[in-house]
Each structure stands twice: as structure tokens, then as C-alpha cells.
């Protein structure tokens, strides 16, 4: 009852106002390519210095959750994910928008975001102690295999061929090694001073998604108006809600994957959407529909990336171990206001902590409400002619990239990566596996090097990386994931051949 009372504190006028401002601002920031949740929270921290601790935390957490959700808007409307967590949303969201179903896609995105987000928050509220215990079991060996599980997904996300997807992913992992070695801090592959700091994930994300999209828009801009402006169909909100609930498989997989990835410290939420999308596609009865405007793809991706928000805070609030980069920045916000993570947070500072959690929970519903309101205006964006849209995306991409580190080198890297990706797309490569490689590379390498050092010469690296129940479970999942991707491709090729033979006969 006491906790319920704290939750009701959220409705105090000041707290409620801060929450609404955080949600609306977060949705708008999230929709801008390049403004990732981590950056949005980091930018806001100085503004919270003079706020009351409770309002500061409500603002930061509302912005965190809303930017993750807001990234879906640009992913669906212009195929440029607002943050790495929204990459998978673009796979089916953008084709839906091209078919005039942008409003419907946004409905699915925001409804599934709320469902996934609420389930994730339930885990934070009711299962924090066991979840914290589980998070502690993830050492370098387990984290290394989580990264490898992500690698197995590369073959099938967004790519028509498993081998090409894996190759593109390997290129992404190689790009992630540019810069400094994570242990010895010695430079690697730094051929020019622009690469001294390596390739930032968000820079790569914007370059690989936004720049090829700009080139494509410029191509289509010359085609004439009928080619550029999509026919827009309105869609009943109730029908969208009904369809979302009907997609139980996508919702379940999305939420469960999001929760598990959120719990694992260091894995980050960025891969939750991609893993959920891939698993949903593999278990779907119609995997061939994915990538062509399948609502289940949007639902799985969006429920996953918000389901991870709650669980990613469990290790942070209970142990002081941030589960994701954004959680690390939030930790800064807590410390600034004299709140030290641990049991004290739930006893001495119970009011602040539970009001903060309550705000996040209510925030999930507000994200849906405001998100659905925003989706009405997607018509405006979809009807902007492509040459104007290309200019707008370029400006946003340049600003977004430059603002990450105030470094012009990032802008150059973005354009070089984007142009290379545009050419690679012409020969059948896709950007998603490359970005996934860039995300997973540092996780895999860091865990690999740490594991090697921990194991030492007596245990041996091989034994260290193949011992323990979680490790074997992860290895099993990796084998299953890769095997199923290959099986799916063989089946689809066989189906294509059968169809072609039938057409020849007819």
C-alpha cells in the first residue's frame, strides 16, 4: 500500500508536469536521428542540478523511455532509426509507410512499446532481487556468448543471404576495432588522425542508414511527384490495438527478449530489438512476409526495445551496476542528488525511488498516448517531397553527428561510411548487419580479452569460455539460431525453385 501511495505522488502537479514535458520532449528528441537516449539523458543532467531529486529523476527517466520509443517515428517514416535500438523497427515499418500504412505502423509501434514497457517495469517492481542476482552471474564468458548470439543474428537481419549478412556483420566488427585497443589503449588501424577516436556507434548508425537514404531520396526525387508522395491510408486505432494484441507471438518474444537483454549488464538494449525481430521471424508461420511490411516485425522490435528499459535499471538500482550506457548516465544523475544505489535506495530513500519507478510506469502509458497523437501527423512528413526531405535528413544527420563529440571528424566518417554503404547496397549488402557488428564488436572483444586475462595460463581460455550452465545455454542458442537461419534460407530457396518450376510448367 505504501508503494502505491508513492506511485500516486507522480500525479502531484509538479511531478506530473515534469513527466509530461519529459515524455513529449523525449519523443521529439528520439525522432531526430542521432539524438540517442544516452545523449538525451546526458544533455539533460546539468539542467537537473537545481531541481528536486525526485523531479530530476522523473525527468531523466521519462526522457530515457520516451527517446527509445520516439526513435520509431523516424525509423518508420524515413527509414532512419532515431537510435540503435530502433534499427529493427525500420525493417517492416518503412515498407508499411511506403504502402501508405505509416499511421498503422506507428500505432503498432506505440501500442507494443507500451505493452513491452509495462511488462519490463513489472519485472523491475516485482522481481528486482532475483533479477539482480541473475545479473551478477553474467561474467565475461557469458557476455562473450551473448555477443556471439548477436553475431548469429547478423546473417538473417535485413539481408537476403546468410553469408552476405555475416560478411557485412564481420566488416562492422572490424570497423569497431578501429581506434584504440580496449585493454592496452594502443592505436589500431588509425591511418588518419580522423580515426584516432575510432568509429562511434551513433555516427556509424546515422552514416549507414541516413546517408544511403538521402541518396535514394535524391534518386526518387527526379521521378516526378506521383513517385515520391505516398498514398496514405487512415487506420482505426481500435483495429490497430486489436491487431497488436492478436500478434501474441511477436509481443511475447519481443517482451521476453527485451527483458532478458535488459537484465544482462553490458549487453545494452541496442541489440534487443534486432534479436527479438529475428526470433519472431524465425518462429513465424510466414517468415517470407518479414521485411515487406509485416506488422509483427514492428511489434516485436518495439516491444523489445522498451521492455528492456525497466530490467536495465535493476542492476543499477540494486547493485550500482549500470546495465546499459544510458543507465550509466542515469547513475550519474542519481549520485549528483546524493542517492547511492543499493538497499538504502529502497529503504532510506523509498519515496524518491518508488515515485521514480512509478513515473516510469505511468510514463509508458503516456508515451503511447502522445505517440498515437503524433502518429496522426505522420501524414505531414510522408507528403513532404523527397528532395526537401533529403535536405532535412542531411541537416539532421550532420547536426546529430557533430553534436555527439563536437568533432568534425565524425561528420566525415559518417559521410564516408554512408557513401560506401550506398554502393554496397547496390550489390546486395544491407546496413543493419554492419551496425550490429559495430555494436557487438566492442562487447565481444572486451569480454574476450577480459576472459583471457581472468582465465590465465592455468585454467586456459578455452576451458573458461566453455564452462558453466549459462555459457552452455548460450552456446546452444547460438547453434540453434545459426542453424535455423540456414535452414530457413534453404527452405525459401527450395520454395522459389518449386514456384519457378510450376510457372514453367504452366
Amino acid at each position: 500500500m505504501e508503494i502505491l501511495g508513492y506511485f500516486l505522488d507522480v500525479f502531484e502537479p509538479m511531478h506530473a508536469m515534469v513527466l509530461v514535458v519529459g515524455i513529449v520532449g523525449g519523443l521529439l528528441l528520439g525522432a531526430a536521428p542521432g539524438l540517442s537516449p544516452t545523449m538525451a539523458v546526458a544533455l539533460l543532467i546539468p539542467f537537473t542540478f537545481y531541481m528536486e531529486a525526485i523531479d530530476a529523476l522523473i525527468l531523466l527517466s521519462a526522457v530515457y523511455a520516451a527517446t527509445v520509443a520516439g526513435g520509431a517515428v523516424s525509423a518508420i517514416l524515413i527509414k532512419v532509426p532515431g537510435a540503435p535500438a530502433n534499427i529493427a523497427t525500420a525493417f517492416d515499418g518503412y515498407p508499411m509507410a511506403q504502402q501508405g500504412r505509416a499511421v498503422e505502423a506507428l500505432h503498432y509501434a506505440f501500442i507494443s512499446t507500451a505493452i513491452g514497457g509495462i511488462l519490463g517495469m513489472m519485472v523491475l517492481i516485482f522481481l528486482a532481487p532475483p533479477v539482480a542476482d541473475m545479473a551478477l552471474r553474467f561474467g565475461p564468458a557469458e557476455l562473450f556468448w551473448v555477443a556471439i548470439l548477436g553475431v548469429t543474428v547478423m546473417g538473417s537481419v535485413g539481408s537476403k543471404s546468410v553469408v552476405r549478412g555475416l560478411f557485412a556483420g564481420a566488416v562492422g566488427m572490424w570497423i569497431s576495432t578501429i581506434g584504440q585497443n580496449p585493454i592496452l589503449a594502443e592505436p589500431r588501424f588509425v591511418f588518419t588522425s580522423h580515426l584516432t577516436g575510432g568509429v562511434e556507434i551513433v555516427v556509424a548508425l546515422i552514416g549507414l542508414f541516413a546517408i544511403p537514404q538521402v541518396y535514394t531520396m535524391l534518386e526518387t526525387a527526379t521521378r516526378g511527384r506521383e513517385a515520391v508522395v505516398y498514398e496514405l491510408k487512415s487506420h482505426s486505432l481500435w483495429a490497430s490495438a486489436r491487431n497488436t494484441v492478436r500478434e501474441r507471438l511477436a509481443l511475447t518474444i519481443g517482451s521476453v527478449v527485451g527483458i532478458i537483454i535488459g537484465i544482462i549488464p553490458g549487453a545494452g538494449g541496442q541489440i534487443a530489438g534486432l534479436l527479438a525481430y529475428d526470433q519472431t521471424r524465425k518462429l513465424s508461420r510466414n517468415p517470407e512476409r518479414f521485411g515487406k511490411g509485416e506488422p509483427a516485425g514492428v511489434i516485436a522490435a518495439e516491444s523489445a526495445n522498451n521492455a528492456m528499459v525497466g530490467p536495465s535499471l535493476v542492476p543499477l538500482l540494486t547493485l550500482g551496476v549500470p546495465g546499459s550506457p544510458t543507465a550509466a548516465v542515469l547513475l550519474g544523475g542519481l549520485l549528483i542528488h546524493g542517492l547511492f544505489p543499493g538497499p538504502d535506495l529502497f529503504t532510506t530513500h523509498a519515496r524518491i525511488t518508488w515515485t521514480f519507478i512509478g513515473a516510469l510506469l505511468i510514463g509508458q502509458i503516456l508515451i503511447m498516448v502522445f505517440g498515437l497523437a503524433i502518429s496522426r501527423y505522420s501524414r505531414v512528413i510522408m507528403q513532404v517531397p523527397n528532395h526537401y526531405m533529403a535536405a532535412a535528413v542531411t541537416v539532421l544527420a550532420v547536426f546529430g553527428t557533430y553534436s555527439i563529440q563536437n568533432n568534425f571528424s565524425d561528420v566525415l566518417i559518417m559521410f564516408v561510411l554512408g557513401t560506401a554503404m550506398y554502393l554496397a547496397m547496390k550489390v546486395g549488402f544491407e546496413p543493419a548487419p554492419v551496425v550490429l557488428g559495430i555494436i557487438l564488436g566492442p562487447i565481444a572483444e572486451g569480454a574476450f580479452l577480459q576472459g583471457q586475462m581472468i582465465s590465465g595460463p592455468t585454467v586456459g581460455a578455452l576451458a573458461y569460455f566453455t564452462t558453466g550452465p549459462i555459457v552452455w545455454a548460450m552456446i546452444g542458442l547460438c547453434v540453434l539460431s545459426l542453424g535455423y537461419s540456414i535452414l530457413l534460407e534453404v527452405r525459401q530457396a527450395r520454395r522459389r525453385r518449386t514456384r519457378a518450376a510450376a510457372e514453367t510448367a504452366s
Binding site: R164, A170, V171, W174, T177, R188, R223, R497, E503
Partner: protein
């Protein structure tokens, strides 16, 4: 180099270069992970190469996938790419009748003939060479940009030899027959 081989060979060259660059630096502690990745890339590139070689031996060079390209200025680049092999050049003959922004292939077909290297009167076309082939020429309608045409080009085929094939594609994709150039 046959255009179908260009992609896997390029991938192999890139992998060897990156692995070589890592090995050349000679610092095993720092370059351990990049070398592992480079090794994986070489294996994957060899898979891609083996796939193309096997299909080539089976008598198939490339699949041509055609779809509308609005930017006419892009055309020469693709024409050069297409000109890499006789079979690919012949494939240019197949690419004339795809609609500009089609919803149904048979409704919007402009019905013009495109010579390899020339811009499509309907607003330009592009085609991509794939390392695999389908069994027969057939139109496909998928998504909002429908009207892709696929063609199997036999190994070493002369452009003239595939003219009937081109006519067949037009018939299939446009729903009506016409003269070929």
C-alpha cells in the same frame, strides 16, 4: 572478370587486405581480435566465391534483377557494370519494359525497348547482377515497387542468342508482345 564473380572476389580481397594489415603490424595482443574477424571474413568470402563458381559450372552466370531507377544520370554507371560480361550486356535487352512506379505490371508498362547502355525512356532503369539465377524468366510483383523481372542467362550467351528470351520477358512482364531491337 565476370561480373558475377566481382562481388565475392572483392570481398575476398578486402578480407585479405584487412587481415594482412593486422598481421603486418605484428602486435598479437592488440590485433588478436581483428585477425580473428579477418579470418572469419576470408572464410565467408570463400563461401561466396564457391557459390558463384558452382552456379557457373551448372551453366548459369547471373540473375538480372531490374527495377525502376529514376535518376537517369545514374544509368551509365550501371551500364558499365552490365558491360562487364556478354551475358550481362545481353541482359540489358530484358530491361526495357518495367513500369515507372508500378502497382500492377500489366497496367503501367511503357512498352519501350531499351538498348544496353541507353537510358530508359520511361525514366531510367537500373539492374543489379546477382550471383545466382532462377530457372526461367518471370515477372514478380512484390511490395509497392512491383514489376521486377528476372532472367536466367546461359553461360557465354551472345546478346543475339537471348533475344527470344528478351521477348519472352517482355511478354511476361508487360502482358503484351512487341518487336525487339
Amino acid at each position: 572478370v565476370n561480373s558475377a564473380l566481382a562481388i565475392p572476389l572483392g570481398a575476398l580481397a578486402l578480407s585479405v587486405f584487412l587481415t594482412g594489415a593486422a598481421l603486418y603490424r605484428g602486435k598479437p595482443d592488440i590485433y588478436q581480435f581483428p585477425i580473428l574477424i579477418g579470418g572469419a571474413m576470408i572464410v565467408l568470402a570463400l563461401f561466396m566465391l564457391a557459390d558463384v563458381v558452382m552456379r557457373k559450372r551448372a551453366g548459369v552466370v547471373a540473375t538480372v534483377e531490374a527495377e525502376p531507377l529514376p535518376l537517369a544520370s545514374m544509368w551509365p554507371a550501371f551500364a558499365v557494370m552490365a558491360g562487364l560480361s556478354p551475358a550481362a550486356r545481353a541482359a540489358g535487352l530484358l530491361l526495357h519494359c518495367l513500369p515507372r512506379f508500378p502497382r500492377a505490371v500489366d497496367r503501367l508498362c511503357p512498352g519501350r525497348t531499351l538498348r544496353p547502355g541507353a537510358a530508359c525512356p520511361a525514366g531510367g532503369l537500373r539492374f543489379r547482377l546477382r550471383g545466382h539465377a532462377l530457372r526461367r524468366v518471370r515477372p514478380r510483383a512484390e511490395g509497392p515497387v512491383a514489376g521486377r523481372a528476372f532472367a536466367m542467362i546461359p553461360a557465354g550467351a551472345h546478346p543475339e542468342a537471348v533475344t527470344p528470351l528478351a521477348a519472352m520477358t517482355r511478354t511476361a512482364a508487360c502482358g503484351h508482345k512487341e518487336e525487339t531491337t
